[in-house]
Amino acid sequence: MNRPDARELLHIARQTLLQELLPALPADKRYLTLMVANAMAIAGREYQAASGASAMECEQLQALLDDRQLSLEDARNGVAAAIREGRFDAGDERDRLLEALHQTTLAQLAISNPKALP
């Protein structure tokens, strides 16, 4: 495996951007530079956490549909369609759905913006 890996490279590149380049840039480029830094941070977190988050989401959605063979994409499509048909409107089904969606959303939020985690 290549070291530094993608996450390590992004980390040091981002640190260089914020600590050495940002102070030397004109004020009107500050916001843009912070957006670049944010994109790098998201990419770094995704590199580390994406496969785990996807596996967890796949498992959760498969369980909702009672089908362990589904790919993540098919499971998402299946759950979306079942929601629209009203299969998760009420009762235990609804509670199971909300619990699964809550967990998958928190996992995605931990990648995109951990500061917003409850």
């Binding site: 909300l98 969606l101 995605q108 939020l109």
Partner: protein, 352 residues
């Protein structure tokens, strides 16, 4: 005006005579001026959809004689399908201005593409800060009660406009309950969009099952939020960006204004990150009666969050398709989990 004059002179006369001639002639004719000179021009930020130019002009003769600071608003190269043309937006601005809504005073519309290359209109420049992050960041601990109340009162004045309205006959009337019409639109978008979004589907289903049956129709701004109005120490100056105006349930605008996704630096201040919701509603009710309880407010905040999620997906698509490569548009796609968490928060209660 003296400081503006000094600034303009310092900047020098910036005028590309050959290209400006048709514009200067148009302004001269509309303003009945003998002579018009552009002292300064500057592109204003804000608007993937339009271009806004600040124009400092010297007019000789006519009712506008003197130095004027106006804004020229035209279509940008790429427009979103849901937005109004500049001619339509001018008609809306004119109508709401007469209804007493605080907006930049509209001046003249030019439909002739020969003048600057596309349709545009001119309006008065207004002072103030628009940036939602700045306005919310400056808010006191308890928020700005005056600004919140003014924003409420102003929205109530807009909501007094009811269909039919001959001048605004280009705005379609929903042929079903407004909430259900929006849900159908968002579902149609999601169906044509690659990849399913279970949380958005859940939010849409919840909104469908809880849709209000008592909607009255009025004129909505549809983007009434911090970031789209100008305010300063004197309070509210003007509401901007009328390109999404349409007929709908008045509570839709209130949900959009108060939804967590538009509170910027102050998620604790429910009135757009700048004030308390009670102050906003008090200002509204001083102008017109309004029935909205907590449950209905939650409902329209879910609708608002769904709408912003759909727009965020559309904006992301503009980047991904190569139509408009942009870091800001790309990052908009990564707002989805936050919006989805808001939807789950608001729809997980004991009620359905």
């Amino acid at each position: 005006m003296s400081s503006l004059n000094a600034a303009s002179q310092a900047a020098g006369v910036h005028s590309d005579a050959a290209n400006d001639q048709p514009l200067l002639a148009f302004i001269g004719e509309q303003a009945q001026a003998q002579r018009v000179v552009i002292l300064q021009r500057k592109q204003l930020s804000g608007g993937a959809i339009q271009e806004n130019w600040l124009l400092d002009l010297q007019l000789d003769g006519g009712p506008f004689a003197g130095v004027q600071r106006w804004v020229l608003r035209s279509d940008a190269a790429s427009a979103l399908p849901a937005s109004l043309s500049r001619a339509q937006e001018f008609a809306v601005l004119d109508r709401v201005h007469r209804a007493g809504v605080k907006v930049p005073r509209p001046l003249w519309l030019c439909r002739d593409p020969a003048v600057i290359g596309r349709a545009f209109f001119l309006m008065e420049w207004m002072p103030g800060i628009a940036a939602g992050r700045l306005l919310s960041g400056q808010s006191a601990a308890q928020g700005n009660a005056q600004l919140a109340a003014e924003l409420g009162a102003n929205l109530a004045r807009l909501h007094q406009l009811r269909p039919p309205c001959a001048e605004l006959d280009f705005l379609p009337l929903p042929d079903t309950a407004p909430a259900l019409a929006s849900i159908a639109t968002y579902r149609a978008f999601l169906d044509g969009h690659g990849g399913a979004h279970p949380v958005l589907e859940w939010g849409l289903r919840w909104c469908e099952r809880n849709a209000p049956s008592d909607s009255t129709l009025c004129l909505l701004h549809r983007d009434y939020r911090s970031g789209n109005y100008l305010a300063d120490a004197a309070g509210l100056q003007a509401v901007l960006d009328w390109e999404f105006t349409g007929w709908g349930d008045p509570r839709e605008d209130i949900g959009w204004f108060s939804a967590r996704c538009w509170r910027f630096a102050r998620p604790d201040l429910e009135a757009g990150g700048i004030g308390q919701l009670e102050d906003f509603l008090r200002g509204y009710r001083e102008v017109a009666p309004l029935h909205i309880d907590r449950e209905q407010l939650d409902y329209w905040q879910v609708m608002a969050t769904l709408r912003w999620a759909v727009i965020a997906l559309q904006q992301t698509q503009r980047h991904l398709s190569g139509e408009e490569p942009s870091l800001e548009l790309a990052l908009t796609g990564r707002l989805l989990p936050e919006l989805e968490l808001d939807i789950l928060r608001l729809t997980s209660g004991a009620a359905q």
